[in-house]
Symmetry: C2
Subunit: 407 residues, 2 copies
């Protein structure tokens, strides 16, 4: 066991998830078990809080309240969108030295992992002994080396439950429905919509991912064919869908004029892509009832929709991070593996370089040949991550009554 | 007890809710207990299914499956947006006569109640004995005579849980957040966002309802004041907010040109209002991080978010409808009363004319003097409707660490 004495610092970066607090609490509670840990600090607003020396002393927080916070979505220590460069990391490192921080745990995505990498290198260069560990977190599920990422399962559960509902809603009133799901470069979250299917005619009938070039003509043909078959069409679309030249569809559909008028195009926190696709369907196919919803921030923050498996793993990945640092005295990024056929996880520490700044995409075997849906392999991959007790829709199966007047 | 022998017909109209199937199942199961009922039919796609003679025989459906469907959101018998006139109702009536329908139950909002009224009058004019009962349902909570409507509690729970989440999310990354909630004329559903507040600085800090004229300058001043105080601002807005001349804000903000270019302006199933309000804040106050979500169809269909109290009452209102028809041999609209101070309900049968085609608005005592929030009286009214086991957010309360470098 490492006997490096000093403080633990834990921070959260990037977009919140349903279970990111589990990882912080996993670090805080596990670190309490090691006598070489003098205090456990939490940085307020991520790396920004480190620069500003905004720390809270988690050693003085009750276990009871930490458990309550663990069950609360979003970043309990608050977050930041800052992406530190070398100079920014140098300032962070200076603050860490001043506070005798010897263990740094940063919960975040691939940008956060890159921050850990830079700080780690600076510590080495300064001959300052520091354990620096990245703890994975992202609803996008796009971290290299990981079978899946904490945060994904709960967001995926939200998306699946949302599509179960809109399936029923769209079936009741008949139309075309487009649900726009988060994910700029990776389609995992959008693909989770497919788990909503129970009955053979359930939607989403079409799923469009950033991993495949989006073609408007093909899209309209897909919708037309589906609508002719079922009298309805339910569609899941990633916010990041782009054409064959990698131009985001939101930019393309808005056209040059509107782009000039509105300044920089924003992808999240706006319903523009859904509205533009709706217009495309209305004009292209002459269909009347076309609706779109942009799931927006609710898919990563909606309280009360959480995968129990995701929560447990997010806790465990925080615990494991502390154990790697304390027992093995190493740096790196904790990665989740799935070593068994049905379901089970294991954790490994991988080099920060393997994760930092890289993006994992949906593998080809998860996407159907037409590029407008997912495969059974994806279902098998995704379903366990959504956790237990998933709701299920039911239909009336009563027999039809023979007609009298319209015979 | 009435000994009028014949069939029961039940149908669903208008937008689906989380618990509308409970009412249908309440009718179906209660009606089985009366020997004068020869069969129980369900109309497929509401009044449209009656005209087309599209019936299913619910007498031949298992109790087990009916219970499963009761727990499923949206309209299990499917729905329609058709608003029958006299001639349409005459066609419905003819089909009912042909099938010996003697009891007609229609689950819906104020339009549906008007349909029941017309059919009822036509039956009387034709001297055909028919019991016609309207069963209330609407997430808008805008039916006259009702303390609250089945469907509202579950949708309100969704809105409250959504705002609990975005409170945490917006606090973590700091910005202005606008959530657009359904409700064209009545603000009850938007107002439910206020139940999300736990900590004194929790949002929504501002709530805008259709019951008060929306003024853009006052809105910007409200946002500016809130943002200066908290460093964030979380806002709930009804889709139906209008200016002092009753012009919907979505139309007003779009401007004449865009209205002409896009044809008819659509209020639901589009993120336009949220985007326009975001732009207004960005331009008016020079704030950078301004985001909006339009809750859209998820607030009435999201599977897995239901108020248990709402579900029980939706069931009971269906049962009561059958009991009124069978025991009292009368027509009307079932209304929910709250006769006790804390919480409890009772059901009364009121004349169809009292409900048909009318809209109930938020009473003045529920809206604050500034017209940008709700009162404690509304909290007391709304909270019980959301049901048991509502999630609760928790914050880290650990003490701050003294600064070393930035002293």
């Amino acid at each position: 066991m490492s006997r490096l004495e000093g403080k633990v610092l834990v921070a959260q970066g990037g977009g919140p998830t349903h279970v990111i607090n589990q990882s912080v609490v996993g670090v805080a509670l596990e670190a309490r078990k090691f006598s070489q840990v003098t205090s456990i600090y939490g940085a307020v607003h991520g790396v920004r809080g480190i620069i500003d020396e905004e720390f809270v002393d988690l050693t003085r927080e009750t276990t009871h309240n930490l458990e309550q916070v663990a069950d609360t979505p979003s970043s309990g220590l608050l977050s930041t969108r800052d992406k530190p460069n070398e100079e920014y990391c140098a300032r962070m490192f200076k603050v860490m030295q001043a506070h005798d921080i010897r263990y740094f745990f940063y919960v975040g995505g691939n940008d956060s992992s890159d921050t850990v990498r830079i700080v780690n290198e600076q510590a080495k260069a300064a001959d300052y002994e520091l354990r620096a560990i990245h703890i994975p977190k992202t609803i996008d599920n796009d971290l290299m080396e990981n079978d899946h990422c904490p945060g994904y399962g709960s967001a995926a559960r939200y998306v699946a439950q949302a599509f179960m509902g809109v399936n029923l809603d769209n079936r009741a009133l008949k139309g075309v429905y487009i649900g726009v799901v988060m994910g700029r470069h990776a389609g995992f979250l959008t693909a989770a919509s497919a788990v909503a299917r129970k009955y053979t005619d359930d939607g989403p009938h079409l799923v469009y991912l950033p991993e495949r070039a989006f073609d408007t003509d093909k899209f309209l043909a897909d919708v037309d064919r589906t609508f002719s078959k079922y009298g309805i069409c339910t569609i899941a679309v990633s916010e990041g869908i782009s054409d064959k030249d990698h131009v985001p569809m939101i930019t393309k559909l808005m056209g040059v004029e509107e782009r000039d008028a509105h300044g920089n195009v924003q992808l999240s926190g706006t319903g523009a892509l859904g509205d533009l696709l709706s217009d495309t369907v209305k004009k292209g196919l002459g269909l009347k009832r076309v609706r779109s919803d942009t799931f927006g921030y609710l898919q990563r923050s909606f309280i009360g929709c959480r995968s129990d498996r995701d929560a447990r793993e997010a806790r465990e990945v925080g615990e494991k991070a502390v154990q790697f640092a304390m027992w093995d005295n190493v740096d790196g990024s904790v990665a989740i593996r799935r070593p068994v056929l049905d379901y089970g996880v294991d954790y490994e520490l991988v080099p920060l370089e393997n994760v930092a700044g890289k993006t994992r995409h949906m593998p080809d075997e998860f996407i159907n040949a037409e590029g407008n849906g997912v495969t059974q392999a994806f279902h098998a991959y995704c379903r366990p991550l959504l956790g237990s007790g998933l709701a299920e829709p039911h239909r009336i199966r009563a027999p039809r009554v023979p007609k009298i007047l319209h015979r």
